[in-house]
Structure formats: structure tokens, C-alpha cells
């Protein structure tokens, strides 16, 4: 007899990601992902000046602001065929690199590690034994008995205070928790250290973007950072050296803490390479442009069909028609008026048509995008496999390094195939983090060298023609490939669509009834305790879900976190 498990977070306003699973014999047999992605940006932007679109677009989301700002100016530049000065490309590349590195560290430690790490168990660990374990996998200087003792005391004090806060909704003692107390303490202690390192990365965004939250320096045609080595109010040598210092400090944390932790946790939870495979058509795009036209990139990528790295089609550049023509969105199972079949984003419509939840009909606010009529998975795993298939050497190096570390822990060979899984997505995110960090250092060098040549240009003025033009911009954001599509008429926005990463992954069934990456990844997941579906949450978190993140209120009324209903 199948049970229906409904996981519905009660957020500050109302549910935004709801997942329904049919569970039979301790396994997920069917799944529906439903989201309330905020799709109103097009309504707000209609009639506005395209040069201002990025200002509004970066307020869509509470986490990935910079990514919408960058993608928006790229879309307008693409429509205008406007070149962007080299300095502006490098500065944007550094902002996105720093933002992504920050985001990946936060995701692993602060948003998903507690699915695998039991904080309460960490309180029972022996700090000396923890130090021995940690030193056996990494030379990180803070892996000392003293450091682990301090962290344990801090956690104990925090838990004793009764204000569980961030640890309030963990599944402590759940049968699916497998780490030893020492491994739990090691990870929990690194959780605390990660808070500090992610902030250093965010400082880089703040200095380059003139402000965070919400950067201020974007512009259609470049960036607004004047470069003048002698003036305090601009990007000075002193500021650039400080940025370099921040970047370097975080590098050691990634290679000596994040990567070894992912490999260790991956080995402890090796059975999670068997779950969460889902959709294995992977879509990612090249990023970090190295020229003014956006034709050459530091990080290549493309489309992989059916999980086979040999079936790889590169996406070449910012103007590649292969990408532009491949994207469509269906609303057959979404709460919008449809009936026209899947539409290209330039022709996209967003007319709400709410029905109740219908398993076989409409059940989500998210549309269902397809790439040449196929469902695709986007995100760090898609991006890492795309870079790997493109022959990007540093990606291949780090993929092999992580897999070798896991193989070493397990005493048996783990190959690239293991990446198509719940735990594989975490490993890929760590690989992407270190690859981006290396490229961030490289972009800093390129910027310094270019300024040294006497080039201080950061902006090309846009000129809008009469009549209609259209363009698209993309960016490989922390949660995957993000694209904005814009139609401009006589210098004003006529249509605007943002096709965001989570739309690709968390959409409902498509025009032909095919299920999305979230839904597919949940099939066959184990569920040990129906009303504590930790395993379902593990797989969902591996995608780094980001929905309706734009809404937040301080709630004094309820203290509920999320509801789990077993019907």
C-alpha cells in the first residue's frame, strides 16, 4: 500500500517548494515537485528603460543578486551587439567568481551539511581523536585538538542556550545519519570556520560592486568602476591588493577543508552515489569572457546528451544560435493559461490560471523548460561535466583528485559515473568551487596586466535604435545556467523573461509528460521513516533549491519550520 508523503515548507508567506512523493516499500515510487517561483519580473519591466532592467532584476532573489544583474546587462548588450571593454569583462568575471565561490561554500556547510552531519552526536566526540582523523586527511593548520575542543564548547553552549537556531530543525539521531561522533565534530567545526571564509569572499563582491547587498556597479556597456590608481574613490592599487589577499586566504580553505570534507563525507555516504541520478541531459554554458565581443571564454561548456560525455555539443559563445533556438517553456502542467504548446522565451506568456492541485494536470507555478524538446539538468554538476567534456584541464585535474580521495577512503576505485547522484552533486559543487577560485586568481592577474598596459576603459555607451531588437544573455550561476531574454522596441522593454536554473530542475511534467530533474532524482530514493523524510530532503538539497527566495518577513506568529504530512 503506497503512502503519500508531502513535504511542504511553510515559509514566511506561504509554501514555495512542495514535494509530493508516493512511498511504497520504503522507496519513492512517484514524485511531484511544485514551486511558486516568482514570475512577475516581466510585468514590472514592461515599458521600462533597458538600461535599468538589471537594477530590478537583481532584486528577484535573496541569494543570487549579482547573477541577475550580470545576466540582465548581457541580454541588453546582446540585443544591441554592444562590445564590453576588457576591464569590465574582468571585473564582472571577478564579481561572479567571488559570488559563486561564496555561494558554494555556504551551500555545502550551511545549507546542506546538516543533512549528513549530526550536531548532537558531535558533542560526544573526543577532540583529540577528531584532530587525528582530520590530520589524516588534510594538512589544514586549524585541525588541532584545541580548535576542536573550542568548537565543541561553542556548540554545547549554543545548544544549552535553548536557542537551537540554525540547528533547530535537524534530524538528530535519524537512522540515516552515519558519521562517527569525531567526523561529525570535524564537519561541525569546519561549519563554524566556513562562516568566516565565505564572508571574506563576499567582501570581494562588495569592493568591486561598490556595495553588497545589491551591487551598484553594473551598466549596459560595462561597469561603472572608474579605474584610477591615484584616486581614493575609485578602484585603486591598494583596493586591488586587498582583493588579492582575500582571494588567496579563501583558497587554502577550499583545498584543505572543503575538498577533503566532501571527499570524506562522500566516502562515508558512498551508498548515496546510487541515488538521485534523475535526468542526465546536462546543460551548461561557457562563462568568464576573455574578449570584448564574448567569443572566447576561460570556462568552456555545452550540452551533454544522456549522461554520455562523448555526446557533447559545445555552446560556443554569447551569440550561439544553437543555444538561442533550443530553449522552450511549456505551461501544460503549470498554473498559467496555455494551449499554444511550448513557447520560445521571446514569445513567452505569463498569464496566471490557478486550478487546484491536479496530479495529472496543473500543479506548479514553475514552467517546464526543455532544450530541443528534452528535459535537462542544470547546476554545478552539469557545468563540471560540461567543462570536463570540453577538455578543461583544471576541471579534469580536480575531478580526478576528488574521486581519487574518495577511492582512497573506500579502498576501491570510484569513477566519473559516481557523479550522477545525490552525493555526486555535492562533489561536483566542490570541484566547481576550486576551479572558479583558480580562475578568479587568473582574472585578477588579467585585470592588473591590462591596467598596467594603460587601458583604463570600463564602459561603452549604448545607443538604442528605432524599431524592435531582441537579445538573450546567459551566465553560469551557482545553481546553474541562467538566461534572460529581452525584446526592446524604440528603446523600451516590450517583453522580458528570466529562465532561472531552478526552473530547469524543479519544473513540473512537460508537454509530453516527461518528469523534471527533481522529480526524476527522487524516484527510488530510500525513505526509512515516512514522517521524517531526511532522504528526500538530501536529494532535494543536493540541487541547492532556490525558490521564491525573494520573500521574507519576520514571523512572530508561528515557529513552525515545515510540515510533513503522511497521507
Amino acid at each position: 500500500m503506497a503512502q503519500r508523503v508531502v513535504v511542504d515548507p511553510v515559509t514566511r508567506i506561504e509554501g514555495h517548494l512542495r514535494v509530493d512523493c508516493e512511498v511504497d516499500g520504503g522507496k519513492v515510487t512517484n514524485a511531484w515537485a511544485s514551486g511558486q517561483m516568482w514570475r512577475g519580473i516581466e510585468l514590472i519591466l514592461q515599458g521600462k528603460d533597458p538600461r535599468d532592467a538589471w537594477v530590478f532584476a537583481q532584486r528577484i532573489c535573496g541569494v543570487c543578486t549579482t547573477v541577475h544583474a550580470i545576466t540582465s546587462v548581457r541580454a541588453v548588450e546582446n540585443a544591441l551587439k554592444l562590445e564590453v571593454p576588457l576591464n569590465a569583462q574582468y571585473i564582472r568575471n571577478m564579481i561572479q567568481g567571488a559570488h559563486n565561490v561564496h555561494d558554494h561554500i555556504v551551500h555545502f556547510y550551511h545549507l546542506s551539511a546538516l543533512d549528513f552531519v549530526d550536531i548532537v552526536s558531535a558533542l560526544k566526540a573526543d577532540p583529540a581523536a577528531t584532530a587525528k582523523l582530520a590530520q589524516s586527511i588534510s594538512g589544514w593548520p586549524k585541525n588541532s585538538t584545541q580548535e576542536f575542543t573550542t568548537a565543541q564548547k561553542k556548540l554545547q553552549a549554543f545548544i544549552n542556550s535553548g536557542q537551537l537556531g540554525i540547528f533547530g530543525s535537524g534530524y538528530w539521531g535519524h537512522p540515516a545519519m552515519k558519521l562517527t561522533p569525531e567526523a561529525n565534530l570535524m564537519a561541525a567545526s569546519h561549519y563554524l570556520q566556513a562562516l568566516d571564509y565565505q564572508r571574506r569572499m563576499n567582501k570581494v563582491v562588495a569592493i568591486l560592486g561598490s556595495k553588497t547587498p545589491h551591487i551598484q556597479n553594473m551598466a549596459v556597456g560595462g561597469v561603472t568602476n572608474p579605474i584610477n590608481m591615484d584616486s581614493q574613490s575609485t578602484l585603486t592599487l591598494e583596493k586591488l591588493m586587498y582583493i588579492k589577499q582575500l582571494i588567496d586566504e579563501v583558497g587554502d580553505f577550499i583545498t584543505q577543508v572543503y575538498i577533503p570534507d566532501v571527499a570524506a563525507i562522500g566516502a562515508f555516504y558512498a551508498d548515496w552515489t546510487q541515488y538521485g541520478r534523475g535526468v542526465v541531459n546536462y546543460l551548461s554554458i561557457p562563462d568568464m569572457p576573455l574578449d570584448t565581443k564574448g567569443t572566447t571564454f576561460a570556462l568552456p561548456a555545452g550540452y551533454i546528451d544522456g549522461g554520455d560525455l562523448a555526446k557533447f555539443t559545445p555552446i560556443k559563445d554569447f551569440h550561439d544560435p544553437y543555444f538561442e533556438k533550443g530553449v522552450k517553456e511549456s505551461v501544460k502542467h503549470s498554473w498559467y493559461q496555455g494551449g499554444k504548446g511550448p513557447l520560445h522565451p521571446y514569445d513567452g506568456e505569463t498569464i496566471p490560471n490557478f486550478t487546484d492541485w491536479q496530479d495529472d494536470g496543473k500543479y506548479s507555478w514553475i514552467k517546464s523548460p526543455t532544450f530541443y524538446d528534452k528535459r535537462a539538468q542544470v547546476g554545478p554538476l552539469a557545468n563540471v561535466l560540461g567543462m570536463y567534456a570540453s577538455g578543461h584541464q583544471r576541471t579534469q585535474f580536480w575531478v580526478n583528485a576528488v574521486l581519487d580521495a574518495v577511492s582512497g577512503h573506500l579502498g576501491s576505485k570510484v569513477g566519473v559515473d559516481a557523479l550522477h547522484s545525490t552525493i555526486g552533486r555535492h562533489a561536483a559543487r566542490a570541484v566547481r568551487c576550486v576551479v572558479l577560485h583558480e580562475e578568479l586568481q587568473n582574472q585578477w592577474k588579467l585585470l592588473m596586466e591590462n591596467i598596467a598596459k594603460g587601458d583604463t576603459k570600463t564602459f561603452n555607451k549604448p545607443v538604442f535604435p528605432k524599431g524592435e531588437i531582441r537579445g538573450f544573455g546567459f551566465h553560469e550561476a551557482p545553481r546553474g545556467m541562467l538566461s534572460h531574454w529581452v525584446v526592446i522596441e524604440n528603446g523600451k522593454i516590450k517583453n522580458y523573461q528570466a529562465v532561472v536554473p531552478t526552473t530547469w530542475n524543479a519544473g513540473p511534467r512537460d508537454e509530453d509528460g516527461n518528469i523534471s530533474a527533481y522529480e526524476a532524482a527522487l524516484i527510488d530514493n530510500p525513505v526509512a521513516v515516512a514522517d521524517q523524510p531526511l532522504e528526500i530532503i538530501r536529494t532535494l538539497h543536493s540541487f541547492d533549491p532556490c525558490l521564491a527566495c525573494a520573500v521574507h518577513l519576520t514571523d512572530t506568529e508561528t515557529k513552525s519550520h515545515y510540515q510533513v504530512k503522511v497521507v
Binding site: 528577484i60 543578486t65 536557542q163 537551537l164 553588497t212 521574507h552 519576520t554
Partner: protein, 163 residues
Amino acid sequence: MSTPMSILVLGLGNILLMDEGVGVRAMEAFDAAWSVPDHVSVVDGGTCGMDMLDLIASHKHLIAVDAVKTGAPPASLTVLRGDEVPAYFKGKLSPHQLGLSDLLASLRLQDEAPESVTVVGCVPMALGTGLMMSPEIEAVIPRMVTMIVEELARLGVTATPRI
């Protein structure tokens, strides 16, 4: 770096969702009408979570201006202080809805939480898509501005009207 009495007036909310942006709008109205000494920062925090850690950590006192859900009718105003500011994370499934409570919990873990936290809040009426606020909410912005001025006075800071 932080001065002995540094204070942060932080407007929070999403200006794209009508009344959700009331905190940002009230902070902007305060900033337009009142000038403050150098050790007081007035910042539009918008919709960002983790990005604000550094900003909050570098101030001794935090006055957050935000939309709040208290159960009271729309346009009701409230001031929450100390333990009244709920310090718990909500919804492990909604990791990207890092709100103020979550940020403060993270800062406490790092022994960097502000000495005092005040929330100047307003119960929203409409959270649809749009840059405009409901007229009823728009109408209480001046009172929220006064509440910010009073809260600063409580902390010993005199704001001066801009001419």
C-alpha cells in the same frame, strides 16, 4: 571597523512585491529626511541574506526595518526588542530564505552578534507583484520614520532634520 557605539539602520524587504518592500521604503524615507552622525550607517539591505553578515557584524546596534507578520491587522506597526526578535531558523527546506533571525543566529555562533537588536516592523497588506505599495501602507511610512528617529534617540543618537 566598529566604533564604540556604531549603529546600523537596515531596511529589509523586496521592493518588487509591493508591501514586502515597506522596510526599504521606510529606510529611504528616513534617509531622505534625517541626517545622522558618522557612526550611524543607513543601508538598503534589500533581499539579501548572507551578504549582510559582515555589515551587521561591524556594528554594535542594529535597527532593522522590515515587514513583519504578527497576527495584527495590516498597517499595524510594532517595535520588537531583544528576545522578542525571534531567533530561530525557519524551514530547513527553504535554505535560501535566510532571514534576519538566521543571520543573527549565525553571528551569535561567531560571537559577533550585535549588542542590541530592534525591529521596526509593519504588517503588510498586499504582497502582489508591483513597485507600488498599498495606500494604507504608504500612509504609515512617516510614522515608521518617527519610530526610527525615536529608536536612535533611545540609543543616545540625535538625528537632525535635513533642510
